[in-house]
Symmetry: C2
Amino acid sequence: MSEYKSVRFVDVRLEGDFWKERLETVLARTIPSQHKKLAEYGLLDSLKLPNPPPPLRFPRHANGFTVQVFWDSDVGKWIEAASYALSHRRDPDIEAKIEAIVDDFEKAQEPDGYLNCWYLGREPEKRWSNLRDNHELYNAGHMLEGAIAYYETTGRRRWLDVMERYVEHIRQTFGTGPGQRRGYCGHQEIEIALIKLYRLTGEKKHLDLATYFINERGHQPPHYFDVEREGREAKGWEWQRYTQGTYEYSQSHKPVREQDKVVGHAVRAMYMYTAMADLAAELNDASLKKACETLWRDVMDTKMYVTAGLGPSAHNEGFTHDFDLPNETAYAETCASVALIFWAQRMLHLDLDGKYADILELALFNGALSGLSRDGEHYFYANPLESIGKAERWDWHTCPCCTMNVSRLVASVGGYFVSTSPTGLALHLYGGISTTQAVAGTKVTLKEESNYPWSGDIKVHVDPETDARFELKLRIPGWCQGATLKVNGESHAVNPVSGYVTIERTWKKGDVIALDLPMQPVRLYANPGVVMDTGRVALKRGPLVYCIEEVDNPGGRVQRFRLPRESEISVVSRPDLYGAVSLKAPAVEIEEKGFTELYRTSPPAEKSSALTAIPYYLWANRGNGSMVVWIPEAK
Amino acid sequence: MSEYKSVRFVDVRLEGDFWKERLETVLARTIPSQHKKLAEYGLLDSLKLPNPPPPLRFPRHANGFTVQVFWDSDVGKWIEAASYALSHRRDPDIEAKIEAIVDDFEKAQEPDGYLNCWYLGREPEKRWSNLRDNHELYNAGHMLEGAIAYYETTGRRRWLDVMERYVEHIRQTFGTGPGQRRGYCGHQEIEIALIKLYRLTGEKKHLDLATYFINERGHQPPHYFDVEREGREAKGWEWQRYTQGTYEYSQSHKPVREQDKVVGHAVRAMYMYTAMADLAAELNDASLKKACETLWRDVMDTKMYVTAGLGPSAHNEGFTHDFDLPNETAYAETCASVALIFWAQRMLHLDLDGKYADILELALFNGALSGLSRDGEHYFYANPLESIGKAERWDWHTCPCCTMNVSRLVASVGGYFVSTSPTGLALHLYGGISTTQAVAGTKVTLKEESNYPWSGDIKVHVDPETDARFELKLRIPGWCQGATLKVNGESHAVNPVSGYVTIERTWKKGDVIALDLPMQPVRLYANPGVVMDTGRVALKRGPLVYCIEEVDNPGGRVQRFRLPRESEISVVSRPDLYGAVSLKAPAVEIEEKGFTELYRTSPPAEKSSALTAIPYYLWANRGNGSMVVWIPEAK
């Protein structure tokens, strides 16, 4: 196990242009507009017991739609996102809004600690009767994460106290002791929150409860979800049917240590693997670590989109078979890529290996960030890799999980840049941060300056309060060829071990490192097993996957382009495109006009042309149009 | 309007190898095994009122499954298929089975003529309360078609009498008169059957009723389906939700003459267009004909797979947007291609134009015939154009509509070969038939001999009882270049008008025509709007679309092939492959072995290779494996 541990999100300041802009947008637009939507769609009213709001009809949803079992989680996740944002800039208005929510939750809480507004507002006697489908523990997890974040930012305990009482109730309810239910949630999440609570409070009982949930999961016969189903009076509509009669959907088909294939609902899977990796580290549990590594290899070898999107199928919001990675119908839920970042960070703290940081970075800049619009008020739930122009960002969703997942990610992204050990600092990501951390008996201020991800020209200032010997680990990304490094102007060898260059020396105030990570555009090819991508090529530069979008390539759908293998790809700075870097390459273009039949025996005419590619995460911000990540290749 | 009309299916004998084999299979295996399945799955028991069978659980269906609202139709359609088969060879065992079914239907019939076993067995008082979802008139249509076919083959009237009583009840129930319901079926079908009954009996009231159903459809406000919904007590689960709140699903969103885009459920659409074209001919209705032509152009220009498959989406079993023709997820229900054959035949009788016969032939040899296995006992419901090896023919289906649609098509295929007018004969299809028809005051025996579709070398013997002057129209397929023609050994110009060569002369016994239709393999390219097929090519020879299947191209998924544009395609006779003709071409093949990553920066290795393509309709008969119709092209 690695000695390195994560730092507190609140202790890292975002100073580089790229993330400062995203953070400002989240602060100024996303957090306030999300609160407005929570109010508008009844989520805030749903907390006001004993009178839950009247049924609402969602404009986008033909079925009609009323209070949902998962709404507590969305409110909890908004508090978490808002709290991370507040750590960058306090805001009395937002804090008052959080306090008002805490008021409602506090009033709703039962004397025994139970706190779920859906059950309390409707069928309080049926609490804990359907863990499989009804998200009670999942909600508790997100509420707890919100309470921890709010406490860490503001020091206010009230919301955390409410949640600690609820956790105590949960602890008494679930377990292997006499009179306890041997249950666990159909949607994993509380495990991550309990480990956070353990890390905050040092109280081992929270770690034990997380361990119980992970260890109990999938044990059978009897399967807990079968047991509780037998206990329910009215069976009603069975969500389980949707999941095709197996428990793979919720990764409870077998005990977690026996799982070796990534299956089922993608977000459930990623949250569970995150908790497993956390526990493996906390408990020094080799069997849990091995299971995590096996599952990691499975997803990396056969199941991840080039954008780090996960889960090809809308049907189960999750995984299907190996190499099934359709582009236009990709589900690739924003939440799943956000959760992959969580998992990758935990794996990185099990073994400080750049392969985990590479995926963390890939998911961050592509599959996750694509979920949030430039204006900070529109979202993608699914992140397809191809479109004929029908995909459109929406301003809210009947299941708004992704909205707050992407805002909490952006507001806390600083926490993924750095890790510390007693004897060192590791820098995983670049883009302009500063942080002060306790290392080797002193306080070290680390300031990283760069225009990353547009440029790999990076300066790192190391300022210990007093001279101190410790190691500084700098990640050399897996995508990078020809990195160079200077320490105080003197060349330093770049021989990364497990993706990191380690500089161990006595550091002094004013020390400065110059790291250059050349960013040549590259072509990527998919494994031939991914039959959808055969004969196609994707473009990447640095950590960013590119796509071609109709707005930059007018004249019809961008599916008309082919990219010759020999085309030189040039790099264009684009102040007009949010300061991004776009790519340009000579291409071949089908001329559609003369082709009036549906099928004919002569091929369509083609002409020489050029295509412009933009970072994938930026797509669908300038109107709707066609888009392609995997471009047919001409040879 | 054309003077040509269809002939009776029972009057055409199948004598060529291709169709004789399919017919023998249907006679010996499909019809008997389908009866066995109807029994095994409870469809026959469901007719035995007042005690319908206990709920059945279908092994393939997790939801459990009991008597279905559409089961009467499946039984009716089996009688129809069996009757066409009996016209080729009588079979006392099958006839006894039909009589037993007629016994049950006769006993089940109410005194007022009403006859629907689902309602009578369950909620007789709720008859006609949900035309939108519950298929009563659809069932009546298929039962009536079965009764007509059985009468035409055997001369037995009992089943037809039962159905005529039911039709009388329907006529009294529906219409614009006082006390009548202004309804029509959510699933079109009865209109086709009523027109058949009119043609059989000459009674105009049947034509009038079909006209009423077509004319009433889509009129609003109020929409009939809304009216009847208001009248239902318990709303229950609403199928309409599934159809996303519009009536496009059932083509009742506007009056049929105002419809100009092909929308909704594909089989519903094709059945309706078939009836519309029939009525346009019978009523000499120019506005109905124009609507048919507009809809025909819409489907031909933007919505048909190269196999004549229809309906890309499983969600609505139907149409989506223009050029949306995904290959692996194509729904392309067998029933829809069968129904396209019906529609094309009706259009052909509106205007004797080869463009309709071309599509009739295309659907017959590809999208429809692919639905039936070589052994005659396995089926495809969906007919995708690409597979990674997961598609498997099944021996039965919870909704067995396609099984009997393909068997009734094969058993009646002779009826699509020939049309007659008072002064002529038209031959649309080739493959070995003989028929005797009344033309120009005499009886003419027409015998067409060929090894079609494997060869275009065709002989047509024309034997009038007495010498007679009339026109013989021979279709020159749209796919054919360089056709030649000889009459009694003398060359005859081939200048087809609207796809037909017309030979008008005094015909004498022993006249013989030699028609040669060269069958060069061709490449097909899709309109660039079909983005799924950009850079891909399909192979076709004669009427047959080809595919590459793994069993002929071992070494991995066939998606590994690319076909160079300059590759010469050679023709191979295949006695080992059911006598088919396969195609062979030099190709380029990806070598998968060295590619162990999911993504990498270097392209996969390739080697020179060759691919073998087989007729699409033959796929998935030699085990499961990958398959591709649209092959990536190398240039």
